[in-house]
Amino acid sequence: MDTLMLSRLQFAVATYFHFLFVPLTLGLSMLIAIMETIYAVRGDEEYKAMARFWGKLFLINFAMGVVTGLTLEFQFGTNWSRYSRYVGDIFGPLLAIEATVTFFLESTFIAVWAFGWNRLSPKAHAVAIWLVALASSMSAIWILIANSWMQNPVGFAMKNGRPVLNDFMAVVTQGYAILTILHTLAGAYIVAGFFVMGISAYHLLRKPQDSFFLRSFRIALIFALVFSVFEVIEGHMHGAGLALKQPAKLASLEAHWNTSANAPVYLLAIPDPENDRNSIEIGRVPGALSLLAFHTPTATVTGLKDIPRDQRPPVAPTFVSFRLMVMLGMLFLLLTATGFFLRNRLASNRLYLKVMIYAIPLPYIACALGWTVTEIGRQPWIVYGLMKTADAVSPVSSSQVAASLAAFTIVYTLLGIAAFSLIARQARKGPEAVPKVQPARQEDGV
């Protein structure tokens, strides 16, 4: 394989792995902050135990997110040096601002929180986790603005063959970025909601009246329900945004070949990119694609045939990933809505609890599929319409990249096993024993 393909594989390995940890960091920090705030306000020790228990899982996950994030920043330089040089004026500042404004805050206060139980008042301690939660979401926002600029470059002028920043606000406030941010954050919050619900379900199956896990479950349920509803609505707006900005991506995620008004959606289709058609099309819903993309059934939607072959993304992975993601999104809505109706008799519905344990990985998969749609759907461009991925790779030897790719694969596999088995073990173990009656401030000033 050549340096380009190896570098693409390496970046894929590194980002997918990184994104196994990021969404939980984003969402679980919020949930812990909510739990600890209830403790700080009411003084109910059980909520403190909740913050500590979920916090323990959070910290393992957080550390993995940090160490795998560092490699991503470095890889822009090591493997995509031509890209880095080309976009440095716009992409670089966004990363630098992310580190300066948010990442310091997140990393400093996570330590204050983890080690500061006996050094801070309950309120100050709750503030620390809120800072972590807000900083990590802010951090995601900056990164997503940078990614959105690759999807939809704005706010620049070409100078000596390079895009040069001329309107920072346009970069930061563009619509594409706002949609991406909402979509990604909501997805991350769903991951965390299902994570807490699934682990709580595991314990509730064993101890049905355990108030610790009943309360945890309900907090996570409301959280996940709100964002599942939000995600479906936002996902639709997202598709409509795509229709305007990236017609090639829209056409390939629907395997839509012929430019047409009244464009249909097929419930089932198998794309056949060799022959510019779908080999099977079942369940035609006429006008549905036009309606979804442009809010009117008669609108014309560009088909892949009208996009030059060398500017089309790979259709099959984009199409399949998109379908699966949407189906999972619907499933999350169904599962959380069911949970909402069962909320006062959760413990007695063993089937639902069992399903929720097995549902833990699903939102993770949905996130990975979403990124597949976003990133493969942007191909062959690395910066949409400006620079092709093939022109972005570093002038390094393929043997170097092959070696580092092998190392990434091995190290990440082992780390993944270590981290997830540790999380699973700690999750099964359950919380520390909670003292029954105790003044809330007993631990201060130790």
Binding site: A63, G77, S81, S84, V112, P395, A418
Partner: protein, 341 residues
């Protein structure tokens, strides 16, 4: 003008990174030699626990600023130093995982494995950052396309290795001093003793490095053109000597602060000599990446400067507050690492 401001900030960011992460890299390397039993090991881990992550963000920021302010340099520097950077990255990954997971390992075997990850993961960056920067001071064989024409072993030339040993010995002293300030009893005694011994190595390495730089690099050109700059290496040597004085007085915190200053001054010695180059080529002056041929547009630099001027002081304030929050000695009965979580 603004390019020069960013050059200074770039140098300061790297210096601050080495000054802060230096102690936990050094202490991580020394852990098995200084801690003799499980309780002592836990104290060593605990003494770094609340700090390493925040320290590492300075590296992320230094990398991010290189990307943002000098994308041309970032591209050439990171791709030409591909293999050594990958070694550093993997080391930092293992180290971070060890720091977080070691305390939760179920078995002694598991803890031993993580201990090894910590040692390797701390030693490799401590050494290789020195090797990499010494080679940068010396010039890297890159052509006009930014393509690297050397080998991995070529970086391990005598000057590069000396740079590595200088960094390593400074970080080891820094780590010993930190532990001496944070611990009590036998552990404290051992760390204190070690700090004095390794200090001799650091002094020798520093003296050799300052001399060898005159032969091997063009760093002193700037110093000859602007003799006031000599204050930087002078301060580096002075603060290193002050470190020894405080070790003699058993004033561990003062010694640690002096060691901070020595590390920062050592890094800035090289940076000041580089200006206006960021990444010199040994294959021809025209190929050198400088602040003129590799910087971002004035608008990008201006926006980032505003952000930096507002946020870096805020970062310094809350990081200093966090350091002071955890300033006391780490005691065995805290057994913090496992219990706090």
């Amino acid at each position: 003008m603004i390019e020069t401001i960013w050059f200074v900030l770039w140098g300061v960011l790297w210096a601050v990174y080495f000054m802060l992460d230096g102690f936990d890299l050094g202490l991580g390397t020394l852990m098995p030699f200084v801690a003799k039993n499980e309780a002592e090991k836990r104290i060593v881990y605990n003494s770094m626990g609340p700090f390493w992550d925040g320290n590492e963000v300075w590296l992320i920021t230094a990398g991010g600023v290189t990307f943002a302010a000098f994308p041309g340099t970032y591209a050439v520097m990171f791709s030409s130093l591909y293999s050594p950077l990958m070694f550093i990255l993997f080391a930092l990954i293992l180290r971070g995982a060890a720091l977080e997971m070691r305390g939760k390992a179920a078995s002694t075997g598991g803890r031993k494995l993580w201990d090894m990850c910590l040692v390797v993961g701390s030693f490799v960056p401590a050494l290789l950052f020195g090797v990499a920067f010494a080679n940068i001071f010396r010039g890297i064989p890159i052509d006009g396309e930014g393509i690297y024409h050397g080998s991995l072993l070529g970086l391990l030339n005598p000057y590069g290795l000396l740079g590595g040993l200088l960094f390593l010995s400074l970080f080891l002293v820094h780590g010993c001093l930190w532990l001496a300030a944070k611990s009590e009893g036998d552990l404290h005694q051992r760390a204190a003793k070690m700090s004095g011994r390794i200090w001799i190595a650091a002094l020798v390495a520093a003296a050799l490095f300052l001399g060898y730089s005159a032969i091997e690099t063009n760093l002193y050109d700037n110093y000859r053109a602007m003799p006031a700059l000599f204050i930087i290496p002078f301060l580096a040597v002075c603060t290193l000597i002050v470190v020894r004085v405080f070790i003699g007085n058993a004033s561990w915190w003062k010694a640690w602060f002096a060691s901070c200053a020595a590390i920062a001054a050592a890094a800035l010695f090289g940076v000041a000599g580089l200006y206006p180059a960021l990444f010199p080529s040994s294959m021809g002056k025209a190929y050198t990446m400088t602040i003129y041929n590799s910087s971002s547009s004035p608008l990008a630099l201006k926006i980032m400067l505003v952000v930096a001027l507002i946020f870096v002081p805020i970062v310094i304030i809350y990081q200093a507050w966090a350091y002071s929050l955890f300033r006391g000695k780490v005691k065995e009965q805290d057994s913090g690492y496992e219990k706090v979580y």
